[in-house]
């Protein structure tokens, strides 16, 4: 009963339900028919259920080794471990599209169940937009990338999966990243619904922010996980390559971060409304075009486009409808939105505007760097590439500015601030920054890393200081401070923790800029000195694995003749796919990573030599740890009572009401 055909049927059913979910509530809202609008949540649940059934069918086909399903035959093999049979479902184009559609369906169901406090018409419209986007992607899935296609005759065994993907980090990276991407569909749907309705107010800001924050948390985790994966799997000692696929995730993260902040201004001061709507549209548009344009290879290579023209044309048409349509609606309806007041430059909202300007500037740099080469190729026929040097030179100065102002932001009061009142609070962070300057100049080389490190310490100190002041730490008895801390809204902690997380990530990046490495070709028994450690290649052994042959090296690392750790880097030969992978050995103490890779060997017998790549990576774990801390901060602010309990009531009139 869970074969591929029922799965295909469930997908088609979901597609029809999504179409209904798109059309019925919009029509009902247009005609003022509340019964039609009220159908939306039910349709959203049904669509989600149908998609889940469809996805389950594909997973079961993969687990059962049903090689008559083309997708399973091409991407799985009988010898593959069970975990990777399941995760391999989304390790390929068709399966990942289905996963994408499923997550979108889950988002719709989440809006339907958590959005009970929303006005019925608004909820109906939001669900309708989600249904429309869903319908488009399910059509794409059914039409051009059907995961349930059969193949005849069925092969005896599958072709297996790319061994690089056979890794727990990568297995769970796509679902988390996709949840981030797709999650921004909800703010997008809210933005479109607000445009149709012609009304954005404080309540709208409060409704949309939790969804944006949730999506942002997932995207942050997804990016951090992806970067960690490339660090420990690819074995090049790098963590971010600025390649288009990575940039495609960074771009919506930057606009999404701006959105999370600008929505606060809508919520608290009814300002930046049109801008926030535009950011919500832009973030989802970047998510869409990022995943689909870059992954399908349309921009990267004309060949991928030519290989399956139907797929490329469909994607382009879909993107044109979603992005072009929403921007046209924006151009048509945005002028009719009642704009909020302007505000003083020195105020919380002024700082948030600055945050938005800087984040969007960084985003513009990344977009330029990512899009310029393919456009040059298309228009001028010259093949160029921009890499790390370009992005470093253009983004780091902006990041330093961002860090410099980030510290102020949370300390400034709304509406109007006096410089005199803020400066004393910055005394402690300033002292910390001065100490950091001395340390950074001593420890780091290069102007930009030093500036970034100072900025990061400045932000961390200011965030801690801000929290300490709010609970009057050390000024009242500790118990009184604790009581105050309990009374403090969780979103205040969330913001401070997220900012600290950003600081930790930046410190990690600064540390990594000082990484040292050596590539050596040595016989067994040789000792190499790197970064104050003695790395000795003790032995190299052959070891068979489930579907590969491994060569495992033993490297003993000593510091002042004391054994620090024993590393076992290895190479795996997947003979069935004629592919080699390197397994990195990493030893971390959270301050620095010792990282070793074994390469090919030359010669034979006693003269045999091995190529070793040894890295000393200071503060490397902090990069991903900071991402996790950021996401925890976001999660904490999600659990804030104000967002959970008591759905905000919409003001009677949209103008003239200022939430304090």
């Amino acid at each position: 009963m869970f074969g591929p055909e029922p799965g295909h049927f469930a997908l088609a059913l979901a597609c029809v339900l999504a179409l209904l979910q798109f059309v019925v509530p919009l029509w009902g809202a247009h005609r003022g028919n509340a019964r039609l609008v009220a159908l939306a949540p039910g349709l959203a649940f049904a669509q989600c259920l149908a998609l889940a059934a469809s996805f389950l069918c594909l997973v079961i086909s993969a687990v059962r080794d049903d090689f008559s399903v083309q997708n399973v035959a091409a991407n799985s093999a009988a010898a593959k471990p069970l975990l990777y049979k399941i995760t391999g479902v989304w390790g390929n184009h068709e399966g990942s599209i289905l996963l994408w559609a499923l997550i979108l369906g889950i988002c719709g169901a989440a809006v339907a169940s958590f959005g009970r406090g929303l006005p019925a018409i608004l909820r109906g419209r939001v669900l309708a937009i989600l249904g429309g986007v869903s319908c488009g992607f399910q059509l794409f899935c059914l039409w051009t990338s059907d995961p349930f296609d059969r193949v005849w005759p069925a092969p005896m065994d599958g072709q297996g999966m790319n061994p690089l993907l056979q890794d727990p980090g990568l297995a769970f990276h796509p679902p988390i990243l996709y949840t981030g991407y797709v999650g921004f569909a909800v703010p997008f749907a809210f933005a479109i619904a607000a445009l149709i309705e012609g009304r954005v107010d404080a309540a709208w800001g409060r409704w949309v922010r939790p969804w944006a924050v949730a999506a942002w948390c997932f995207l942050t985790c997804g990016i951090a996980l992806g970067s960690w994966w490339s660090y420990y799997v690819l074995g090049w000692g790098g963590y971010w390559f600025w390649d288009p696929v990575e940039n495609a995730s960074l771009i919506p993260w930057l606009t999404g971060t701006a959105l999370v902040h600008s929505a606060i201004v809508v919520e608290k001061r009814e300002g930046l409304k049109i801008w926030t709507v535009l950011l919500a549209i832009a973030t989802f548009s970047f998510s869409l075009s990022g995943t689909f344009l870059v992954r399908s290879g349309i921009l990267n290579s004309v060949h991928a486009f030519a290989q399956d023209p139907a797929r490329g044309v469909f994607i382009l048409a879909l993107l044109a409808v979603v992005i072009g349509g929403s921007l046209m609606l924006f151009a048509w309806r945005a002028p009719s939105l009642v704009t909020g007041g302007l505000f003083a430059p020195l105020s919380r909202e002024g700082a948030l505007v600055l945050n938005n300007i800087l984040l969007c500037s960084i985003c513009a740099v990344v977009v330029t760097g990512t899009m310029y080469p393919p456009f040059m190729q298309l228009l001028a026929g010259r093949t160029i590439s921009v890499g790390k040097p370009f992005f470093d030179a253009a983004t780091i100065p902006l990041t330093v500015l961002l860090l410099a102002f980030m510290a102020f932001g949370t300390m400034l009061p709304w509406k109007r601030a006096r410089l005199g009142a803020v400066l004393p609070r910055l005394l402690v962070p300033a002292i910390a920054a001065v100490i950091a300057t001395v340390c950074a100049i001593w420890l780091l080389s290069g102007l930009l890393p030093i500036l970034c490190a100072i900025g990061a310490v400045w932000v961390i100190a200011a965030s801690l200081m801000d929290l300490a002041q709010r609970v009057s730490l050390f000024r009242v008895p500790l118990s009184a401070s604790l009581t105050r801390a309990r009374a403090l809204p969780r979103s205040a902690f969330g913001a401070a923790i997220a900012h600290i997380g950003a600081g930790i990530t930046i410190l990690g990046l600064c540390g990594m800029s000082q990484a040292q490495h050596a590539i050596v070709e040595v016989p067994v028994g040789h000792t190499e000195r790197l970064a104050g450690y003695d790395w000795t290649l003790e032995n190299v052994r052959a070891m068979p694995g489930p579907n590969y042959q491994a060569t495992v090296a033993t490297i003993v690392v000593r510091h002042n003749d004391r054994i620090i750790t024993v590393l076992h880097p290895s190479r795996r030969d997947f003979s069935s796919q004629n592919q080699m992978t390197t397994e990195v050995a990493i030893r971390t103490n959270l301050i620095s990573d010792l990282y070793a890779v074994v390469g090919e060997h030359h010669g034979s017998g006693p003269d045999q030599t091995y190529i070793l790549r040894l890295h000393y990576n200071p503060l490397a774990p902090w990069m991903w740890l900071g991402g996790l801390v950021m996401a925890i901060g976001g999660g904490l602010s999600l659990s804030d009572r104000r967002l959970r309990v008591g759905a905000p009531r919409r003001a009677r009139t949209s103008s003239g009401v200022l939430a304090s």
Binding site: N300, P345, L346, G369, T383, V386, I519, E521, V522, E600
Partner: protein, 181 residues
């Protein structure tokens, strides 16, 4: 900050901030572009217009079969190989581990600088893809040189390219096309 900050001044501040952000961004991007763009070049292009020795380029082509030599300087492994697009071959010197998918006769992209003696010093060698894959730039450079047309099957053996004439290449293409079709 005085109370009487008028609407006009506030708007002015906003405009100043936005223009400031835009200006800084543009300046940074242009500055980074002028010094950090990396051009892709095929060996024949490098021979025709040698880039300056301070300019990083991406050199792409096929690894000439039988040209790979491995040696060590001290303990640093050095790989030397020739990269060709069928019209010219450039000797490449690379200190480091060659990627797992590096093979003679297959496509490769090397990132680095040209030295005064006409050799290329690579700081990075990319051959990340499977055997049948050819980087788009390499494929196009080969097509431009007239030695291979992807419509007619697999690329010919890289060892023959330097000696092969255009006429021979065309003959080969038709042969493979007939055999395949």
């Amino acid at each position: 900050m005085k109370r009487g900050l008028t609407r006009k001044t506030r708007r002015l501040w906003l405009v100043v901030f936005c223009l400031g952000g835009l200006g800084i961004t543009t300046a940074l991007v242009l500055n980074a572009f002028s010094s950090n763009i990396v051009f892709f070049m095929a060996p024949s292009q490098v021979r025709a217009h040698p880039p300056g020795s301070d300019r990083t380029i991406r050199l792409g082509g096929m690894v000439v079969a039988g040209s790979v030599k491995r040696e060590t300087e001290g303990e640093t492994p050095i790989a030397r190989f020739d990269v060709t697009d069928g019209q010219a071959a450039i000797p490449v010197r690379y200190a480091g581990i060659l990627p797992d998918l590096f093979r003679e006769g297959q496509s490769v992209v090397a990132i680095g600088e040209m030295k005064g003696d006409g050799s290329f010093r690579a700081s990075e060698v990319l051959a990340k893809h499977d055997e049948t894959y050819m980087p788009k730039e390499v494929a196009e450079a080969l097509k431009r040189s007239g030695k291979w047309d992807p419509r007619f099957g697999k690329a010919p053996d890289a060892a023959s390219w330097d000696t092969m004439t255009r006429a021979e290449a065309r003959q080969m293409d038709t042969k493979t096309a007939q055999a395949g079709g």
